[in-house]
């Protein structure tokens, strides 16, 4: 209250120090739990028993069945299914963490494009999180191998006479798919590497030209980001059901990504502050702004999700509604949809509306953890109903162990990116303004 003086950064504990070992240790424990759990549960579930050979056949058989079960008529739009493999939960977990990284690079780019000041104190953390694209690229390598692609993306070997796929054959081509995936990760890794590098080097040389260079390139970076996240969403998630299409799908993933990143950022900051880092540099005011972004993107996600739904509901064209039909006409996925509507929109919307909730570390952390779980639930909803026409609930403990293991790796990656330099962009020209930031 009253007089507020600029915080003297030199008295602030702003290096990860011994916490990096703690974070790596925690990440390693999670990774080991995830790996051991996955091996154990995978054996129980028989995930490692079968091989790619019998898979496409089984998938197509199931596809035929699912089509027949639905009361006639729409055989051709219902037949797009796969059978459960361990790569389904793997894809869910990988896209879950990819969303956090995508949100992080967007945060960095939009920060520079708008020359934002409030966020300068937490920008370094975003830069470090976005460096995990390297980890994500490694995690995606096994997914795009032919045997896995075969089990997930049935467009690789479409049914003969599938005219819908035939039209898209030029795009849905395995080699072209690999090139696109490589381009996405090159863009993301390149952007995160370049922004992180410039920001860290400014800590040493204090060169203001770096700030203007980073700002200068950010609109181009945002265009690259927008194109890459859109097409990545099409390729990684939408093409699971290659009959279906939704032009807003990339924005859907984007909404969840930015939401998830801000939730993750809040948790990282709260964890750092609980360990005596950045205790004064990041104030309640900054936490409130991070909370505002979580609130805003909760609404944004719901807006986009509903926009996608309503247009298809209203037009009611079979080839467009097939995707939703699979997610609505049985109890399991119908309930999961309600889980997202209530749990991903109404609950966090009402919970995080008040500024007191956003400024309180405990309640903000609670909201952030919930939102990250909901991001996983959302990715689950995009991937899993593709299995056997959505007629079985494919949940296994692998859906827990794989995300936990990946999260462990993600935290190790974060620790490696955060250590060795300051937790804050030391000589950013907007740092004093950011430190003095207050919500009007």
């Amino acid at each position: 209250m009253g007089h507020k003086h600029t915080i003297d950064l030199s008295t602030e504990n702003r290096s990860l120090g011994g916490l990096s070992g703690q974070l790596i240790g925690f990440g390693a424990v999670l990774a080991v739990i995830g790996l051991v759990g996955t091996l154990l549960m995978g054996n129980l579930e028989g995930a490692f028993d079968h091989h790619a050979d019998d898979h496409s056949a089984a998938g197509h058989a199931a596809a035929g069945h699912a089509g027949d079960d639905h009361a006639g008529g729409h055989h051709e739009v219902h037949g797009y299914n796969s059978t459960w493999t361990i790569w389904h939960p793997y894809l869910v977990a990988a896209t879950w963490l990819l969303a956090i990284c995508l949100g992080a690079i967007f945060f960095v780019l939009i920060h520079h494009a708008t020359m934002a000041a409030w966020s300068t104190v937490v920008r370094r953390i975003a830069e470090a999180v976005s460096r995990n694209f390297i980890l994500l690229a490694l995690l995606f390598v096994p997914l795009v191998l032919p045997s896995q692609m075969d089990q997930l993306y049935k467009w690789i070997h479409p049914d003969p006479g599938d005219s819908i796929i035939a039209v898209k054959a030029a795009y849905l081509d395995y080699d072209f798919f690999l090139i696109r995936m490589a381009v996405y990760f090159l863009i993301w890794i390149g952007l995160s590497w370049w922004y992180h590098k410039n920001s860290v080097q400014q800590d040493h040389d204090g060169d203001l030209k770096r700030t203007s260079r980073m700002a200068h390139f950010s609109p181009m970076g945002l265009i690259l980001f927008a194109l890459s996240i859109t097409f990545a969403a099409y390729d990684m998630l939408m093409s699971l059901d290659a009959h279906w299409f939704s032009t807003i799908f990339g924005i859907y993933l984007f909404g969840g990504s930015v939401l998830s990143f801000h939730a993750f950022l809040a948790l990282v900051v709260i964890w750092l502050q609980a360990n005596g880092r950045l205790t004064r540099a990041v104030s309640d005011e900054h936490m409130q702004d991070i909370g505002k972004m979580m609130f805003a993107f909760t609404v944004f996600w719901a807006y986009i999700a509903f926009s996608q739904y309503m247009l298809y509901w209203y037009a009611n064209i079979p080839e467009e509604t097939a995707w939703f039909l699979r997610r609505q006409e049985n109890f399991i996925w119908g309930s999961w949809g309600w889980l997202l509507i209530i749990g991903r929109f109404f609950v966090p919307f009402l919970f995080i509306m008040s500024k007191h909730i956003k400024r309180n570390r405990a309640t903000l952390a609670l909201a952030a953890v919930w939102m990250l779980i909901m991001q996983w639930a959302d990715m689950y909803y995009l991937v899993m109903p593709q299995i056997n026409g959505g007629e079985e609930f494919p949940f296994t403990l692998l859906d827990v162990t794989i995300p936990v293991g990946f999260l462990g790796l993600f935290l190790i990656g974060l620790a490696l990116s955060l250590r060795g330099h300051s937790l804050i962009a030391e000589k950013d020209p907007r740092m004093p303004e950011s430190l003095a930031f207050e919500n009007a």
Binding site: M1, G2, H3, K4, Y309, M310, S354, A440
Partner: protein, 196 residues
């Protein structure tokens, strides 16, 4: 339009022209800097004044706390507006499409939630905005065409480079000479009493 005379060199008195029986309506104190205003505001607050205000050329961060302003109820008005819009939008469409004037459009149900969301959403936004805008005006007592403060020429600098505290005569601690001494003690460099 107003005439002024010096009283004990403690404060100036500005009296409205043509006023039959002039009574003080407020006391105005001028400060040089935002920091001086801030510490003065804390003392005015601690002294127990209730009907008083600060006037600054730009938003001064932390002044709300220094003045001891309680949290506004405006968010609740906005929430009320939004909820009214959402529920009202659904009920309105339910009544119109589902009950009062049923009209079959492309085989859709007469009333359904997905079709009603856009209108309910827009009404949520609209009434929230009305709640925020109207509530802000009402809580601030606006619009107000005239304020006795405008009688002071000195006060014009509140939009440029001076900081002011005004205490209304309706405050039960109001007592022009005593208040003037108090304000002088806490750093005011000029004091005026405005009469009407």
């Amino acid at each position: 339009m107003s005439d002024s005379n010096h009283t004990e060199s403690e404060f100036e008195t500005i009296t409205a022209e043509g006023s039959e029986n002039p009574q003080p309506v407020l006391i105005l104190a001028e400060f040089e800097t935002a920091d001086e205003l801030m510490s003065a505001a804390e003392k005015v607050r601690d002294e127990g004044f209730k009907r008083w205000d600060c006037h600054t050329p730009y938003p001064v961060h932390g002044l709300d706390g220094a003045m001891g302003i309680r949290p506004t109820i405006l968010p609740w008005l906005v929430l009320g507006g939004g909820m009214t819009g959402f529920v009202g939008g659904l009920v309105m469409q339910g009544w119109m499409n589902g009950v009062d004037y049923k009209f079959l459009i492309s085989g859709k149900p007469f009333f359904s939630i997905p079709a009603s969301i856009p209108v309910a959403f827009e009404l949520t936004i609209l009434l929230s905005a009305f709640g925020a805008f109207g509530g802000m005006l009402a809580l601030n007592g606006l619009p107000k065409m005239f304020n006795p403060l405008f009688r002071s020429d000195r006060f014009r600098r509140a939009t440029a480079d001076r900081f002011f505290i005004s205490i209304e005569a309706r405050d039960r601690r109001f007592d022009a000479p005593a208040n003037a001494r108090f304000l002088r003690d806490i750093g005011a460099n000029a004091i005026e009493v405005i009469e009407e």
